[in-house]
């Protein structure tokens, strides 16, 4: 356990040295919030069913952070560790490379949480961001969303032969999810075609779920979303376990 803690602290230090990851997980979401918040404000708005634009957008931005850590940072780091034979080197040592994989998951969860907290603090200070839901339901929804996105991330590493392939797959999945799932811009603002496309993206359901809980609905109202996100976790998590290779 002492070993695992040390490894995790080291992996955290290394993660904080990755400027691009830090930028997209911590700074970019806050910039989006400030940009769109300053354009639309957070006054109750008929177009947003009587909620403020910032109140509706923030749960989406939180999904965006999960996408950065789960679909970019985690799979690309692991693919790189494998390509550079770092995982193999650890296989020939008293620790198992599984320790590295778990610590990578933990540090990316930590980064997601920090991003979420920063976003909420800026939202409260600048736009008087309001949370209408139940804290525990929101926490549960957040965990379910993270599990599903992280299992897709692990699946990307599992099926990629090298870092370049992992990069390509990550980008192909990440960008549509970012812009077409309602994470960056509410789907209400999007044309009908995009709304249809969005139905095929797992993150759309994460955004719907988290937005709903944030605005005061309950988990019980989102059986479809929960079922889909749970299914994604089981499917991609299972496939990752089956297909993942250390070397």
């Amino acid at each position: 356990m002492r070993r695992f803690k040390k490894i995790t602290i080291l992996e955290w230090k290394l993660l904080t040295r990755e400027f691009i990851t830090i930028f997209f997980a911590l700074i970019f979401p806050v910039m989006m919030l400030l940009l769109f918040g300053s354009i639309y404000g957070n006054e109750p708005n008929e177009f947003m069913n009587g909620y403020g634009t910032v109140d509706v957008s923030t749960p989406g931005y939180i999904n965006m952070i999960v996408a950065v850590t789960g679909l970019m940072s985690l799979p690309l780091t692991l693919a790189q560790y494998r390509e550079r034979k770092i995982l193999k080197r650890f296989m020939a040592s008293p620790i198992h490379p599984m320790d590295i994989l778990l610590s990578q998951i933990i540090v990316n969860v930590m980064l997601t949480l920090i991003g979420l907290i920063m976003l909420i603090i800026v939202g409260i200070i600048v736009f008087d961001l309001k949370f209408y839901g139940n804290f525990f339901e929101a926490l549960l929804a957040f965990i379910i969303i993270m599990l599903s996105i992280f299992s897709i991330g692990l699946f990307i590493t599992a099926i990629s032969k090298n870092t370049r392939m992992a990069n390509a797959i990550s980008y192909i999945i990440y960008f549509p999810m970012l812009f077409l799932s309602g994470a960056t811009m509410p789907l209400e603002l999007m044309p009908q075609t995009i709304r249809i496309i969005s139905k095929a993206l797992p993150m759309t359901y994460g955004v719907e779920l988290f937005k709903g809980i944030w605005l005061g609905d309950h988990l019980i109202d989102f059986s479809l979303e929960l079922l889909l996100l749970g299914g994604i976790t089981l499917l991609f998590g299972g496939l990752s376990i089956k297909l993942f290779k250390w070397v």
Binding site: K6, L14, K85, I86, K88, R89, A92, S93, P94
Partner: protein
Amino acid sequence: MNIIVVENLVKKYKSLTAVNQISFSVKAGSIFGLLGPNGAGKTTTVECIIGLMKFDEGFVEILSLNPITDNKKLYKEIGVQLQETSYQDKIKVKELCELFTIMYEKPLDYHRLLEQFGLIDKTNTNVNQLSGGERQKIAIILALIANPQVIILDELTTGLDPKSRREMWECIKNLKREGRTVFMTTHYMEEAAYLCDQIGIMNKGKLIAIDSVEGIIDKADIDITISFETEDDVFHIIKDELNKKINKIEINNTKVKIYTKSEDVLTDLIILLRDKKINYRKIDIKRPTLEDAYLKLVGKEKETEGNATV
């Protein structure tokens, strides 16, 4: 005492037999070198010995442990350097050493190792900013932190400049002086000749020779070459006087080359040239090296297989 025992090891990848029925053992406190062209099966052999790869047939024992079933116990006792390993982006020398220090129960002090290898002032440097030679020294240091009896080095010096390579040789010699057993693979004959007590030559998955450096050279049965330059016509003089002892004479303008198995020919030749009052210069004797022996043995193997690959 044997530290590593390999008997009839076979490893197949689908249709390719990467390692085919090889057997050898490595004595405690010695340096064993595995030589062979790319794709000969050296790395596969290494990975079978240290339990990173399951093999199809045969028996492998290292430190009296089964590398597959006792692998976690084994990894506490051995230090390894794997081919082409690099490290996490932006990790510092210190951080990497600390990571390996916490893995072991009785680690060596890495500061002392860094000092010993002349890297103490690189403690806070990014590993990826080190030179190739420095990075390979780090690989040895990481292998040594476990304070292992056995060190496994897979192509440690590949890609290093000659100076760094020679520095690595001294590091490896030191490991032996400290009483450790070294099992290494290499492409460089000079390196193997300088370091290894025992050499195994692999080609196409087979172990085609295993012996000391001298033993391998003897086995290859290659002529000594004596060469000199002269303006005089010496062909018949040499042929008449030394015919029984020499295998071949080659004359190219002023350059004369004599192929023989016997070093005495040199003395006889000098006496002969002096008696006949022949002026000569640049006399030289070249004994077969490990490289000559290696090329002959590996080349022969290719011929008999009939499907040479480059």
